[in-house]
């Protein structure tokens, strides 16, 4: 099995509702801490609101769901990690973060051009009893480690187990869908195997409306975006995440 899991996110369809953010946090046992802010919170899936900075009738806005781009080439976080706590998985292409191995230096957060990595500034915690609502497939991280999107690896584990139980070597593609993809009410986020020619997602990634963030860095992200609006495509090509960051602050 040598898949290259990736996504195509249709920005024209994104209404910025935030379902992906909530379902991601629920799936991955991400805590909500009273002290967390937009700078210190943990949002492996983060929807940013971006405008074209025009006034009046020309004003346009778009919502940009940002997650780990799962860079295929020269993966920046992998290259800087002194602990080998991140690796690009051979079989799936998923950039895998191992929080248990992380020593919290945050080089990877500095290196990541997409700001898709988050640091656990506090011990995770839930109101009393709420730990019973946690997903048994994902271990809770601890204070002082970095985490990010692992493409819902617990769902991949479950799919692998179901495949093995049924005596199959390969997982059923419909059996492994990350939480954000499942949650999106407009089906703006699509997930599939970019290495599989017949996969609708790998075809969509080749559409003229598809683009990736900061391609000039040569990191070959596996998360594609799609928009029919020119200014959106231009925004991502020329300034990449930077102008989005400006909007965000």
């Amino acid at each position: 099995m040598s898949a290259r899991y990736g996504m195509v996110i249709d920005l024209d369809r994104c209404t910025g509702c935030g379902s992906c953010m909530v379902s991601c946090a629920a799936e991955n046992n991400v805590p909500v801490l009273p002290k967390a802010s937009a700078r210190t919170g943990i949002t492996p899936m983060l929807v940013r609101r971006v405008s074209n900075h025009m006034a009046g009738a020309d004003h346009r806005e778009v919502f940009f769901p940002i997650l780990c781009m799962h860079c295929e080439h020269e993966t920046p976080c992998v290259r800087v990690c002194p602990q080998q706590a991140v690796e690009v998985d051979q079989a799936t292409g998923i950039v895998m973060q191992m929080p248990q191995r992380c020593l919290g230096c945050r080089y990877c957060m500095t290196a990541c051009p997409y700001h898709a990595r988050y640091f656990n500034w506090w011990d995770p915690g839930w109101p009393s009893g709420m730990e019973k609502s946690l997903n048994p497939g994902v271990a809770v991280r601890m204070r002082g480690v970095v985490e990010k999107c692992n493409l819902c690896h617990a769902r991949l584990h479950a799919a692998k187990e179901r495949a093995a139980a049924a005596g199959k070597r390969e997982i059923d593609p419909t059996d492994y869908v990350p939480a954000c993809v499942e949650a999106c009410p407009t089906q703006a986020i699509r997930f599939g195997d970019l290495a599989e020619k017949n996969d609708p997602v790998s075809e969509e990634a080749k559409s003229p409306d598809a683009f990736r963030l900061l391609v000039r860095l040569g990191t070959e992200p596996k998360v594609y975006y799609k928009s029919k609006e020119k200014w959106v495509r231009a925004l991502a090509q020329s300034n990449g995440g930077r102008s989005m960051e400006a909007e965000h602050v």
């Binding site: 024209d12 379902s19 609101r49 009893g129 019973k132 946690l134 703006a188």
Partner: protein, 553 residues
Amino acid sequence: MKVTRRDLFVWGAGAAAGLVFSPVPWKLLDDTSIWSQNWPWIPQPARSPVEVKQSFCSLCPQGCALKVRMAGGWPIGVAGVSTSPVTRGALCPLGYGAHQLNWHPRRLQAVRHKESVSSWGAAQTAFAKACGEGPVIVIDGYPGRAASSILEAFAEKRGSYRVALSPELGALAPYERWSGVPANALGYDLENARTIVSGAPMLDGWGSPGRFTRLWAESAAGAKDPQLRLIQIEDSFSRTGSRAWQSVRIRSGSESALAAGLAHVLLDERLVPARGPIPRLTLADAAAQAGISEDAIRELARTMVERRPTLVISNDENPQVAALNVLLAATGARGGIVRRTKGTRHLPADAVNLNARAILIDAKVPWNFTPETDAEIFRFAAWDDGTSKSDWLLPAPGFLEELTDIPAAPTSAIETYAVAPALSKPRFEVQSAAQFLGNLDPSLGTTEKLIHGRCNGLFRERKGTLYGAARVPLEKFDSVQKVEEQLWKGAIWTGDPPSVGGWRCELKEWPQDPEKLRSRDWASEWPAAVLPPLAVKLYQESTLREAPERRNA
């Protein structure tokens, strides 16, 4: 033999050398590093097998289908049901975190009477006493359930039954006045509309999350000339506006003026078959009030009717906006407002000052609903954000903690019916309002019995389709048990598609705004008593949404 200082050092050196060749330092290093990977104070999920069950969300009257993952008897995650013909796999962002709501620190755990802890017995006695002393009003926020009919039956005998209208149902209220058809019998035939002119947050919390968003995504998103044109008219640039085909911004509170202006153009330019009624407000005045030019209004009116059927959807009970649909002949028409059922007329809860000895408020009534009254208030709620001015706060079942049935959503064009079984057990003594009244008057029956009766009724009518694991027409079922079995497992019954016509709106003169027109800010409709903790991420840990204001805080 005398032990010297030198002996001690030599002994120590030997001991140290020995220690290196013993497991002590290496094992301690290993164990302490393992210990530091598993801090004992960090909660870890229980080791339980995960089961998937189906139910429905009854937190609001949309009643979305839920796929619930359960571990150790508790829900650990929810998702939509893709086979549901209503929600088509979608939920709202609040729904995705709802499985944590029952553990919220603001969960109402005990009966409270005027700021102090009381008991169910005391509440029961106080309510029974009130019933003996004067009329009692029961307020429901989710009409049409089996539990609602218990509330209604009780209230009919002792006072009156009233319904706190949801914003969607409120927007249909003017048609009830003009046609006599109950608002809860009406729905929008969105699927067949080609132009939707809206002031409601169509893509951001209006109606069933999966219905319009999916329709829009498939037939409008990103297209230059979409099949479905969404024209959003608002006073600010909302997220629906940012995605709409056209977004028009007008002055705050000038919706009525713009509606009157549009009516002028539609009638003057004969863009609609109707010949009246003509609003008193002139086009020039309408333009001045709305803050856009007369030409812009003319242009907008022409665009509105370019692709028909056109449907106007209001954010509130604004009768002038509603009147546009009458002009456009969108009432009782394909792609317009259709009648899906017979319906029942209910008295609204906020229309008049409520004079009664006691008022009982069901848990499904929005938390920020506060009646203007001197009556003793018995408020059922699962969560308490500390702002209630009710005399009694009575802990109601939380998320997925009670059996209920799910009637059609307020905006639905077709009848639907589903059963939401309870999936987790409440951790303390809770009662729903229906149970509470059932205890006082056992002749009212129980929710379970009523649901059984309703299933029986469906089976006998033999109409519609049951969407379970497969789509099966109801007439194919040979026993009511099989229908019930399917419904209890999460199937949804849907009625036949709505027939066009069957109701008319008479509009003799152009309506005037009522004295009190509640303006609705959807962001502030968000907070129930509390939000699911994870939803807090949307405004606390990101800038995606504005923090909802606390109305009563």
